[in-house]
């Protein structure tokens, strides 16, 4: 079935509407995945100082325990037929009124379990890493509590069986992200960054809420099963609205254009946080949401195109910003944004793209987390400096970091046989599928994006590890402790191997088939070998350019003036300036005006004038009480005359 011919009303041939069966056996304990890290967070937060000593370790154990439960569930699932791999765990009835009834229920299906694996495994690794990274922080316990809270929320997000429960996780990860970005909020800028992340996310959340409102008004339910079932009977308008609103939500969470502005600032958080939340897991939730809502997007090609367009824009946008950043974390953040753009593009392409999007999501989770941890390791050794212009030549002093980072670098570049090659290339290929203008635009965008990615990631890698040391005088870089390097190594192994383990073997595709169905194969508008060749060429060109500019040449320790584009890219392509001028300033003006209105017009005017005129009237009337008897007599006579006159007039 052709993707772009699909329209409302055509019966679905897909198998995506596999109905979930009640989980039994080990899977019925699936809620433990959420409960364990939640317990960890609760114990650490409520326990207070008493848990300072053993709390971080406890949290880490809880995280691993969640991973273990997840593994158990997957193990049980593999024993089931593909169609039966959708298990539901109903916990309790949560919201219920009138037609609305939402249970707190978990949906354990291949898609959610992929995410569970990614989240718990990478998350646990980062717990371990943090044991080292945060060792000397006075608020370490709180940090681990938040991490556990994040894991729990993220698992709620992916395990939810309805949009509303998903939303709990959705905002839960937002909260965790807020808390962790602002973890060092004694720095007001960091606190602002945290606020920004939360508020921008809220804009997306509004979309999600409204989407749910439309769903409820049209379908009468919010659980995936019902929505998926009734999607075909929804009107086009509703479908398009839901599709776009869900996309808005996804944009907020995944830092997609136009809600991307918060991600760069979010690097204020400790680096493990950036690795976990702002690279590997949370920011991919948008992709998950769209993939999860495939039933809706299948019915509304228009919305899907918008998804793809957003993905394409962000892809390039992130890439351009990434070229200009000198802050290692911000450059990585821009890269994340760009990579998620790829995923968005993929899910925007429809059923043929879902699997690749998820594939890239997983591999990206590994290599990006690995690189972030590497960056953290660098910062650990460089007294928390992040300016790449003062790095350079670190390959000699931080061997492990260097090599693990290199694995990630190669993976993201898409160099065969590293993981990125398998996942990203598939997306580029898929982007070339279709008819009309779309394959050309999306395909070449993806292609060029790959080239730019190669340039800026190489730039990052070379500026940091290669070339001459441009360290400040007080720096004595050193390798990080084992607790940090081991997770890096594990992630590097993933970056190297996940691609060919999951991709060519078809493991992931088969695993996800019950969810996404098996899309018919489509030929891209260009030959696949040609696409691969073009891609690799562009990647090589980008890397070479970077080699000459940032390894062979001298890198200035102060950023050069640069062109207008460079300047704009350094400022995130003026997104903050745009927000400042078009959102914050008007908003501030509005608030000022309203405060003034409230004070002057409503309280001072409506209320004040009323009371004031009452007092004035009182004074005026009181003046008639002038103490003269004759005056009083006159008012009486006047009254009488008026009364009699009134009677006269009345008759």
């Amino acid at each position: 079935m052709s993707v772009f011919e699909t329209s409302a009303g055509i019966a679905l041939t897909e198998t995506h509407s596999v109905t979930a069966t009640a989980a039994d056996g080990f899977a019925s304990l699936g809620w433990l995945m959420i409960a364990l890290p939640l317990l960890g967070a609760a114990v650490l937060l409520i326990g207070g100082k008493a848990t300072n000593s053993w709390g971080p370790m406890f949290a880490t154990i809880m995280s691993w325990a969640a991973f273990a439960v997840g593994l158990g569930v997957i193990f049980q699932m593999t024993g089931l037929a593909a169609e039966e791999r959708s298990l539901s765990v109903q916990l309790w009835e949560w919201v219920s009124a009138g037609d609305l009834s939402v249970n707190v229920g978990l949906l354990l299906d291949p898609l959610s379990m992929v995410f569970v694996m990614l989240i718990t495994f990478v998350g646990s690794l980062i717990h371990v890493y943090s044991l080292g990274y945060m060792e000397h922080d006075p608020d370490k316990r709180r940090f681990f509590a938040y991490l556990n809270l994040f894991i729990a929320a993220m698992l709620i997000l992916v395990l939810a069986d309805s949009y509303l429960v998903l939303f709990v996780g959705w905002e839960g990860v937002g909260l965790a992200s807020y808390l962790l970005i602002g973890f060092w909020n004694w720095n007001p800028a960091y606190a602002t960054a945290a606020n920004k992340a939360f508020v921008v996310n809220r804009i997306g959340d509004l979309g999600l809420i409204t989407a749910m409102a439309i769903l409820f008004a049209t379908v009468g339910a919010l659980d995936y099963a019902t929505v998926n079932e009734s999607a075909s009977s929804m009107s086009q308008g509703a479908l398009l609205a839901v599709g776009l609103l869900l996309l808005l939500g996804a944009c907020g969470k995944s830092a997609q254009f136009p809600l991307q502005s918060w991600l760069g600032d979010a690097m204020a958080g400790p680096t493990p946080v950036s690795a976990l939340i702002h690279a590997a897991t949370m920011v991919t939730a948008g992709v998950y949401l769209i993939a999860r809502s495939q039933a809706i997007y299948i019915e509304t090609p228009d919305a899907r195109v918008v998804v793809a367009v957003v993905g394409a824009i962000t892809l390039v946008y992130g890439a351009i910003v990434g070229c200009a950043k000198d802050d290692i974390k911000k450059a990585l953040a821009a890269s994340t944004m760009s990579q998620i753009g790829y995923m968005m593009l993929a899910v925007g392409l429809g059923p043929i793209g879902y699997t690749f999007a998820i594939f890239h999501l997983v591999t990206h989770g590994f290599f990006k987390a690995g690189m972030f941890l590497g960056a953290g390791s660098v910062m650990h050794g460089m007294k928390n400096r992040v300016d790449m212009r003062r790095f350079g030549g670190l390959s000699r002093v931080m061997k492990v970091t260097w090599i693990t980072f290199m694995m990630g670098w190669l993976a993201i570049l898409g160099v065969p046989p590293f993981a990125g090659f398998y996942s990203k290339d598939k997306i580029i290929e898929t982007a070339f599928v279709g008819e009309g203008w779309q394959p050309w635009v999306f395909g070449f965008t993806a292609l060029i994006g790959a080239g730019i990615t190669a340039f800026y990631m190489s730039r990052l890698f070379f500026m940091t590890f290669q070339g001459k040391a441009r360290w400040e005088d007080d720096q004595h870089p050193h390798e990080s402790p084992k607790s940090m390097t081991v997770p890096m190594i594990i992630l590097a192994v993933g970056s190297v191997s996940l691609g060919f383990i999951l991709g060519p073997t078809g493991i992931l595709e088969n695993w996800l088939e019950p969810v996404f169905g098996h899309p018919e194969h489509h030929e891209p508008v260009l030959a696949i070998p040609l696409i691969i060749a073009l891609t690799l060429t562009l990647v090589a060109l980008g890397a070479l350019l970077a080699y000459f500019m940032y390894w062979k040449s001298e890198v200035a320790t102060e950023a050069p003036e640069g062109t207008a584009i460079t300047k704009a890219a350094r400022r995130d392509l003026l997104q903050d300036d745009f927000n400042e001028v078009f959102l914050r300033k008007p908003g501030e003006g509005m608030v000022t005006m309203l405060v003034a209105t409230d004070r002057d017009l409503i309280e001072g005017g409506m209320v004040g004038k009323t009371t004031g005129s009452l007092a004035g009237l009182s004074d005026l009337l009181r003046r008639t009480q002038n103490g003269f008897v004759r005056s009083y007599a006159m008012t009486m006579l006047a009254g009488i005359v008026v009364i009699l006159g009134a009677v006269w007039v009345m008759q």
């Binding site: 004759r630 005056s631 006269w648």
Partner: protein, 264 residues
């Protein structure tokens, strides 16, 4: 209204209005009171003309005779000369008063004018027995309750006037006997105080008498004058009257007496 009555009306009505206007415009309160009396008396005449002889007579006797006299008495007490400035002090009072009065007259008269009265019945029928008898029958058969209750009003007016105008005796009465008893008991000025000085050229209460030794004595001058410092200087007379016999008439201390007496 017969021709005679009409004539009377046209004579007396303007008089009454004039009297009323006199009340309105007279500068002096006395003149106002006299104008008022004119109205009252005329009113009595009108009553009589209207076959209300008893009422008319009472009007003249009681109203003009007693009430108006009471008014006049008070006017006198307050001061006959107290003239009332006709310059208005309250802003707009006069103008508005006239306007309102005019409006009132217009409205009231228009009201009366709009009424079609039935043919007057006249009092001939009810007054067959005689004016006073008929009136008495009316009062004591139908209006007796009002009549009885009016008595209360009279008591009240007496009580009210008493409270505001009656000086209650606060000390025992100082009659002649009590005064002389007191004088004797005090053993002072048993024969009375000396009279003020009486001289050939000068004869006044403010002049102190001279004692046998020629010194003036303040005891002879009324206390009030002493208090006011109006005692005439005695020195200029002292030389001239050196050889004159001083009088020794009893002194009457008016102040002391009048103090306890109310002026009821």
């Amino acid at each position: 209204m017969t021709g005679g009555e009409a004539t009377l009306f046209w004579v007396i009505a303007p008089a009454m209005v004039l009297g009323a206007l006199g009340l309105l415009f007279a500068h002096k309160a006395v003149h106002a009171a006299m104008s008022m009396a004119l109205v009252m008396v005329s009113m009595g005449v009108v009553y009589i003309a209207q076959q209300a002889e008893f009422v008319g007579v009472i009007q003249i006797f009681v109203y003009s005779g007693a009430v108006m006299m009471l008014f006049l008495f008070v006017v006198m007490l307050v001061g006959v000369d107290a003239s009332d400035s006709l310059v208005e002090t309250l802003k707009g009072q006069r103008l508005w008063a006239y306007l309102l009065a005019a409006a009132f007259v217009v409205v009231a008269m228009a009201g009366v004018a709009s009424v079609t009265f039935r043919e007057p019945v006249g009092l001939a029928a009810v007054q067959e027995e005689g004016t006073v008898t008929a009136l008495a029958r009316e009062i004591f058969e139908r209006q007796v309750f009002g009549f009885e209750i009016l008595a209360t009003l009279l008591v009240i007016s007496v009580m009210g006037a008493m409270v505001l105008a009656h000086h209650e005796r606060l000390r025992p009465v100082m009659n002649q006997r009590a005064t002389s008893n007191a004088t004797v008991r005090s053993m002072k000025w048993l024969a009375g105080k000396p009279n003020p000085g009486v001289y050939a050229r000068h004869n006044a209460a403010d002049t102190p008498a001279l004692l046998p030794d020629g010194t003036p004595t303040e005891e002879s001058v009324p206390r009030v004058l002493v208090a006011r410092g109006q005692v005439a200087s005695v020195t200029e007379y002292a030389a001239v009257t050196e050889s004159t016999d001083e009088g020794n008439a009893p002194n009457t201390d008016l102040e002391a007496d009048s103090e306890g007496e109310g002026q009821s």
